[in-house]
Symmetry: C2
């Protein structure tokens, strides 16, 4: 049994247009890197190697919180030392807290001889999410752990399905340097929606799932429409409409808000398409004077993984 | 070119639990039988061979209404004679008006040398539906024409997808002899629903579609849950809860209201399962003193078809 391990947990895109709270997918990169070491003494010690500040108290850091939940279940007081190099910016809408929550428990699970399956790890990672947003959602931690396209069919009981999808599906993401807090993005949503809009939405959810299974890019594109959440949340992202238009004009299948924003993602048929789309999205933010970072990635098939 | 043709249009189950207004499937049987003949003089003549009364005026009969819509599009004043033998009871919730609407245009399309594809016929059949319920819905006429499991992803524009599904999937249906008018069943629905319920519903829609593509019977069963429409409409069907319980106890994957009711359907793994489930559902209605008819059928892969 190894005493230390280095793992990578990918960025993830939750909601995916019509699938608010139930759908998410993993990118192949970027992602957070954690080195996790079995420690001789009890307790979790966190060392930040990231060039910006993150909480180092294990009670306040998501990697510590999820790991504590896992150790509690195991009734173990094994100690761990965790070095964190974050590459997913907190508050980007790209599952930064999910990556932090999954990486530590994935690594510890490996070091302890895999007492849990990947699916069994998800509830512990959800505790990390709860600590950040107040809600133990699974649409980032699910794909961050399992990789690929993931459906949270139900929360009670937790029922997580890894969907099929066309293997050439790529994603362009642009992260504008503005702050949208997950909590605020939740608060502006309305408690009630019209049945009429809900029918449009679940038609699109059904179309998206069907398009993924069939590998039908046009159907995926037609179905990547959110009539309920995006119209409300997009007002928190200056330039959203122009960036979305730029993505679609550049050949994106569809485009919407990643998680609770402010990042915007677009699904594309190929790496080349995604590169062109990312460039146009980024330039549109540039034109509006909004600093931004863009990423291009294939859908990440493996999720959290050992890199050393 | 033949001068007369006999066609069969199957009963259909719309909504399918979580898929209100967007999902439907065809049964292999029962169905309506129409004999359609090219006539020497213009106009549509309807002859009822059914042992109960139906409108014989082509302006009031759905077979006449859909056919008129089709002939109008063709700018044709070709005359037709239509003999109707209905086997799907009007008001059963099994797509009786959809079968009537599709059979006539399917037959006329054949007799005229197929000026339209099956998909192109759907809007004409929807006119038949509009005449009955006030709403041109497509979740019965879609599967009645195309067969199989059908998704209406969008109404504007009309986007109809034939889904994959496990070929052994069977259906048990029980039709209690009580009246529920489609119009009334619409009226009692609420215009607004909670976002929370909507999320549960589209999680189940996504699970159902995924289960159909994977051929995962358990997932189909877990996803066949309607938290929005069924709780309201089921109060119009005396004995609903007991019949549903009987179906699930007898091994049904899931059970809900067919269309706007009063028929209740259950999906099953096999013909044997469906037979047992239908019997238990029927006996539960019998015990409550409610006369009923039950049907057992595989999902109908072909939809409307020539039988002579």
């Amino acid at each position: 049994m190894s005493k230390s391990i280095k793992v990578f947990a990918p960025a993830t895109v939750a909601n995916v247009g019509s699938g608010f709270d139930i759908l998410g997918f993993a990118l192949h990169e970027p992602g957070d890197e954690l080195s996790v070491k079995i420690s001789g003494k009890p307790g979790i010690r966190i060392i930040n190697k990231t060039p910006f500040a993150i909480p180092e108290s294990p009670e306040k850091n998501v990697s510590g919180i999820s790991l504590k939940a896992m150790l509690q279940q195991l009734k173990s007081n094994q100690g761990f030392e965790i070095e964190i190099l974050k590459k997913i910016m907190p508050g980007s809408g790209l599952g930064s807290s999910a990556a932090g929550s999954t990486a530590s428990i994935f690594a510890a699970n490996e070091l302890l001889g895999r007492p849990f399956t990947l699916e069994e790890l998800i509830p512990f990672a959800m505790e990390g999410e709860r600590s950040v947003s107040g809600i133990a959602h699974a649409d980032n931690v699910g794909p961050a752990l399992l990789g690929g396209f993931v459906l949270i069919r139900s929360y009670r009981p937790l029922d997580i399905i890894r969907l099929e999808y066309p293997k050439k599906l790529h994603c362009a993401v642009v992260h504008p340097q503005i702050e949208v807090r997950t909590e605020d993005a939740r608060k502006i949503l309305k408690d009630k929606i019209t049945l009429k809009d809900a029918i449009v939405q679940w038609g699109n959810v059904a179309g998206l799932i069907s398009g993924l299974y069939r590998g039908d890019y046009d159907l995926i594109g037609r179905s990547l429409v959110d009539v309920i959440i995006e119209p409300i949340r997009s007002v928190l992202i200056p330039g959203f409409d122009a960036v979305k238009k730029a993505a679609l004009d550049a050949g994106a299948l569809g485009c919407s808000i990643s998680g609770s924003g402010p990042s915007i993602f677009a699904l594309c048929r190929s790496f080349r398409d995604a590169e062109r789309v990312a460039l146009q999205m980024s330039e549109t933010f540039n034109d509006a004077g909004i600093e931004n970072h863009s990423y291009v990635s294939i859908i990440g098939d493996t999720g959290t993984r050992i890199i050393d």
